[in-house]
Symmetry: C2
Subunit: 576 residues, 2 copies
């Protein structure tokens, strides 16, 4: 993947006007020629917006009066585009996205030569000495369908270690430099438990490792250097703003990663706002408990809450269910944190004035969160605490009202629903599935929704989230009419979940998520109106530019392909 453009781009829309005698307005910018969805129920639509030098919105309204009143140094012409409040992903993992972007994408390569060519292109942007990691090769796509060998990679990469995961994750392919890094003799006839080293006729490792044997190489991949971690964060941030995100709730941030983010914030290299959630009961939580919630002075980085894990995921049958899995009798999932440890963590967060955000996917996981939150909050449940349940995918019927009674926020990911729908009902059966991905049931109960993607588990692109939320269909437009269509969100509700709803979930609603006076000028200019188009067009909406604090942090160039991993073809309309 080639490098994205610099994070803070010079605005190509910028028209500088020096009006004599208007010095007092010299620091004001007016956005014109726009169709603005403000998100403000009292004034939902406008055609112009003014903000000051600090990036605070001064006024939202019609062009003529705003130009008259605020016309000053800078006018931004939106070119007739549609402006929406900056989108906020309420549940995501920036560093993981960054490291995923630092792995070469080999999916669909048609032969060894194409693999090499893609790796060479990718390596051009890698820091010196860094391992070249990749994923997605499949020898079944190649003419000879034979497993590759280290030698296939050695001519192009004699010195830089290369380590490539197969498309199914069940094999790895190393070059000789990577094999040399393994500190033991890989030849002979021994095999590791649960895995297999492929060898040639003379007992020498060929470079392919099956299943658990991959751990021999994984173990010697060096921990990411500071430079590599910074590169990962920069790529993740660039990808996020290119997709119209102006904010991310980063779920599970270590103290070290917070430090990296702060370095970016200090250096003016954070193009969007990160609301970091500490990684459970670890060093970051201890620091917050000592020093209080963290707020970077620049307004782009804060850590006010703690992420906890309760159970696993539904796909791997790790989500904790109250009754057996429908497709595995006797199995009810697993708890990744003991309930008493989870309760102690929540108690600590509460004592330290922090907001818990707890991963719970199965109805038993959700029940544990509800019980723990209820016990910990006690009489404070009616306070404005905004304790969060992350995912909340499967909820027992009697628990919906408890979300509302406890004043919790449901943080949900529309694309999880459409990714899981092929097999979710098999896992939980026809009854429980009615309480799964149940966005409208939660809304009807009065529970605030915050929407996100869980990237890189799903795509970073919130347009796909809007599409999934509105359609509950896959990219082919299936199933017709949408999966459990009564849970579909309206376009306004979906956009609200990615803007004001997410802002509320992080205590940012007084300055983010809407475009109104006093709010931050965080917005996106689109080529069309997401609230007035067929759902099938949502994934191909064009983000023309992304603005944070009144400055462009991303602008699309004609030649740019924003996210090569995501198909730009619109889904097929579903014939109703």
């Amino acid at each position: 993947m080639r490098r994205l453009k610099p994070l803070v781009a010079r605005s190509s829309f910028l028209v500088s006007l020096l009006l004599a005698g208007a010095a007092s307005a010299a620091d004001t910018t007016v956005l014109v020629n726009a169709r603005i969805h403000t998100g403000n129920p009292d004034q939902p639509a406008a055609t112009a917006m003014a903000w000051d030098a600090s990036g605070r919105v001064l006024a939202v309204g019609d062009e003529a009066p705003l130009l008259l009143h605020y016309g000053g140094l800078r006018i931004v012409d939106a070119g007739g585009g549609v402006v929406i409040p900056g989108m906020i992903d309420a549940h995501a993992h920036l560093m993981n996205l960054g490291f995923a972007l630092l792995r070469a994408d080999l999916v669909g390569a048609r032969d060894r030569a194409e693999v090499i060519a893609r790796l060479q292109a990718f390596a051009a942007d890698l820091p010196d000495g860094a391992w070249l990691l990749g994923r997605g090769w499949d020898q079944n796509d190649w003419p000879d369908k034979a497993f590759p060998t280290a030698a296939d990679l050695d001519a192009a990469f004699p010195d830089r270690p290369v380590w490539l995961e197969r498309v199914d994750g069940h094999a790895g392919w190393a070059n000789s430099a990577a094999l040399r890094a393994v500190g033991r003799d890989l030849s002979g006839d021994w095999q590791p438990d649960g895995g297999r080293i492929l060898r040639d006729g003379e007992g020498r490792a060929t470079g392919v490792f099956i299943d658990a044997a991959s751990a021999l190489v994984d173990a010697v991949v060096p921990p990411a250097s500071h430079a590599l971690r910074a590169e990962a964060l920069e790529r993740a941030l660039a990808a996020a703003v290119a997709n119209g995100l102006t904010g991310v709730h980063d779920m599970g941030v270590s103290l070290d990663d917070l430090r990296l983010m702060r370095e970016f914030a200090d250096a003016g290299r954070l193009p969007l706002r990160i609301r970091a959630y500490a990684d459970g009961d670890a060093a970051a939580l201890a620091a917050l408990c000592a020093m209080g919630p963290y707020e970077h002075g620049g307004g782009r980085l804060a850590m006010r809450g703690v992420k906890f894990y309760v159970d696993g995921a539904l796909g791997s049958r790790g989500a904790a269910l109250l009754e057996d899995y429908s497709d595995e009798p006797g199995h009810r999932g697993l708890l990744v944190t003991a309930p008493e440890d989870f309760a102690a963590g929540v108690r600590k967060a509460a004592d330290c004035g922090l907001q818990p955000a707890s991963h719970a996917i199965g109805d038993r996981g959700v029940r544990i969160v509800l019980d723990t939150y209820a016990r910990t909050l006690g009489d404070a449940s009616a306070d404005d605490h905004r304790w969060r349940v992350e995912h909340a995918q499967v909820i027992a019927p009697e628990d919906f009202s408890r979300f509302a009674a406890l004043h919790l926020v449901a943080s949900m990911q529309p694309t999880h629903a459409t990714s899981d729908m092929p097999w979710a009902q098999t896992r939980v059966g026809g009854e429980r599935i009615r309480g799964a991905y149940a966005w409208q049931t939660l809304r009807a109960a009065g529970v605030p929704l915050a929407l996100g993607s869980d990237f890189p588990v799903e795509s970073v692109d919130p347009r796909l989230g809007l599409y999934a939320a509105v359609s509950r269909q896959d990219s082919e437009g299936r199933p017709r009419g949408g999966w459990f269509p009564r849970q579909r969100l309206t376009p306004v509700q979906a956009l609200e979940g990615f803007t004001a709803g997410a802002a509320f979930a992080a205590f940012d609603e007084a300055e983010l998520g809407r475009l109104m006076p006093g709010y931050r000028a965080d917005f996106v200019i689109l080529d069309a109106d997401p609230l007035a188009m067929p759902a099938t067009r949502l994934p191909v909406l064009v983000v023309r530019s992304t603005w944070v604090d009144g400055e462009a942090v991303y602008e699309k160039t004609v030649s740019e392909t924003v996210d090569p991993g995501v198909s730009r073809a619109p889904p097929q309309p579903s014939p109703d």
Copy 2:
């Protein structure tokens, strides 16, 4: 020890005047009837001072114009007292002082009955269930000169464990409740290595433990609860402000202790300013590295630096010397941190934008600090970094100029000099002693001095520090003329070390350490002038009141004995 009065006292000096038509000045306070030493070289003396509601000094000058200009709601009558800038202890340990104040003082008790009586008075203020700890008993002061027993304590303390250290630290005396807490049978004829359990004729432990045997009881003293830690901090703070301190540089604060201090700051219970230094390369440093220097919003708590230890102390021959100890050939002291670990810590502090403050007592310890700082600073040595050397007690002749060349701050404790002078020359000999406690030599080299006490190693009372700095004599006025009297400081220099000098050492010089417009109204009202009195009177100066942010945080009452542990009798004048 009885409880000190509430931290933020109602001002008995307060005269409320509601002047019709002076509403705009209603939030202004004017201090009158004072002799003010401002510490400002451009205006060293004044008779009145005005400050605003936020506690910022508005003006310093003469009474009549200040009353005319600022006279408003509140006038504080200093009663003809002498006002100095609030004193700042540049090297101390608040929690240790607090825990010391939570131990009953038994020094000088003349019999068991007096011990019991003192313990009962002390226990009245102890939290329920807390162990009663004490120190200072000496059976040689008692009529029968016999070791006490547990039974002596049991009638008065049947349930609360009591554990009392002998005056020399070489024995402990427990009651039966404390003996029961020891989880093993103490009877029989066995003895622990390096110690002895005193037993009666039937082999039962009597309650007295000699040397290493004390560890059997020490090990079961419960860790301090949050309530007890808070009590300790509160007592330390009360003792500090009662002695005229408005600031403390707390050297070596854990993340947990910072949390406690923040709770106090949040609750408005910090009567003075704490500049905390992190406890080496541990959790607090990691938190600072992630989040940046810590500043509490209220201005009374900050953590901007890190305390490191290089060597031990001179008394125990732990200070690291370049050559052998004069009184122990072949021994050169010890390093408590390996130089490479110290260097790594300093590097980390520097990378994280933090100020190192490194304990170094012997000339080898100091040399290691100089070498390490020089290597780490490199070309940045001329920057305004203010890296600190704590104690700097023994300095090789060729190293004085390096302090200045590296732009270091020397943080020194005048009472250490007068405590050590009976034996210091024995330790280091007649040559090296000339570079010991060498305040004027450092000043002459251009090195800024910050003065402190290292309490509770020495008294918390900065008047004793002023006295030691000016006289270099003990409380009996010995030796005549002072110990190496050319190193004595003038009263102005000594006071500057405890005010502006200390403020500079913590980057506070733009708002603390002097009384001038824009500075914080942190000051002390004394009954006499420390800059115009015989040195022998300094220890008995009366602190009438202590003010922080323009509010009284301590006021002396007629009946109050501020620090029962410190003799109030003036030292004998030294006949010259």
